[in-house]
Symmetry: C2
Subunit: 229 residues, 2 copies
């Protein structure tokens, strides 16, 4: 294990989770819960299988994850976060929030996408502004992957997957969907950005935040950044 050898908590933390892919691996376990090797590989497009294996070993040695052989319905080993691992979530959220600033960049269209990656941002972007209204459901289909949103009693539920008859369906590129839900793309221009919106569009007014999530205020970044090749 390569270490910085510094008396500094940050350096110690980076000794453990600073290697390439490591924090993304933790992200998978946070967003998906206990995972099989294959689930992780699928959630980390581009990782070499030997690296995934190595990272899992390291994280286990450092007490961040634990491997457990699951009973028959699964019948294979599952990787869990330990209590220590779960304590990484605040750091994960802080870094993710910071990364939102960067996503403004050119939306490279060859980017990999997984439905569950949207769940964090969606929680930050949505709210139930009419808690007394009846339960409502929204089916998102981002880059072909389904995400299911449930609005009920002031609470927003987000998870990958489908439901049958949703009150509202939004289909298209992830960035376009987020742009619509953020209010940056008016419904009138949904077509123009390749969005397919069907159903009770009035539901949008219920779930879209009127005031941005406090932690997302930094989206209004004034400073301009330049791009290199």
């Amino acid at each position: 294990m390569r270490t910085y050898g510094q008396w500094c908590a940050l350096a110690k933390a980076l000794d453990v989770i600073g290697d390439r892919w490591t924090l993304l691996l933790v992200r998978e376990l946070v967003l998906q819960g206990p995972c099989r090797f294959t689930d992780l590989r699928n959630g980390l497009p581009g990782i070499a299988s030997n690296l995934l294996s190595t990272r899992l070993k390291e994280l286990e040695e450092n007490g961040v994850i634990r491997r457990e052989s699951a009973p028959p319905p699964v019948a294979t080993t599952l990787f869990h976060l330990t209590a220590l691992g779960h304590r990484l979530e605040p750091a994960l959220q802080a870094l993710t929030l910071w990364g939102v600033n960067l996503k403004t960049e050119i939306g490279a269209d060859d980017e990999a996408f997984r439905a569950h990656w949207m769940t964090y941002p969606l929680h930050w972007v949505l709210e139930d502004s009419r808690p007394r209204d009846a339960l409502a459901t929204i089916q998102l289909v981002a880059a072909g992957e389904p995400v299911f949103v449930e609005v009920d009693g002031g609470h927003i539920g987000v998870r990958p997957g489908q439901t049958q008859p949703a009150d509202l369906t939004i289909e298209g590129h992830p960035d376009a969907i987020m742009g619509l839900l953020l209010g940056r793309i008016p419904i009138s221009q949904a077509d123009a950005v390749g969005l397919d919106v069907t159903g009770r569009t009035a539901l949008l007014r219920r779930v879209m935040r009127t005031t941005p999530h406090p932690a997302l205020a930094n989206l209004l970044l004034t400073e301009r950044r330049q791009r290199s090749s």
Copy 2:
């Protein structure tokens, strides 16, 4: 620039600050303020100068830092955090807090140490429980490096450096000093762990927290972690 190529804010963030040394470099600018090249090299013991140069270029391209030629008193270029860079601080703190759990490990004695690395932890560990008392000063000397603590009106000030006649002086290994201030090492055992405490020891009762900092509650980690070679 090597990128994960994922539609995910965390992945984007790691594209920018995920490389080796990068986040520690940001730490230096957060803790020390604007730095010269040499200041950074000194705050990052072990880094190769070419790597430092490369990282600075990358961070500048990505808008995290800015280089500015300072007027005569300094007469050289200084590296500043941009607004975007400053927004990394919450993530830095979250990771640092997580790292505190790991520092319990064997205190390797060949670790590098810099005084300003203590400032974050000290802010978390200290408080002024008697705001009406007169201003008081504590001089720490950790691993030979001086840290100056000022207690006044409910506020704690921490910065590297010295003051002449301090009300209390504590000298010794950083871990021992932190242990004492955390209350894990009673004053009676200060000698046994190589601490040299002189002056108004009653001041300790003023600055040591009776109730741990909320974010540090996770120090009471029950789970046991195993060690590899």
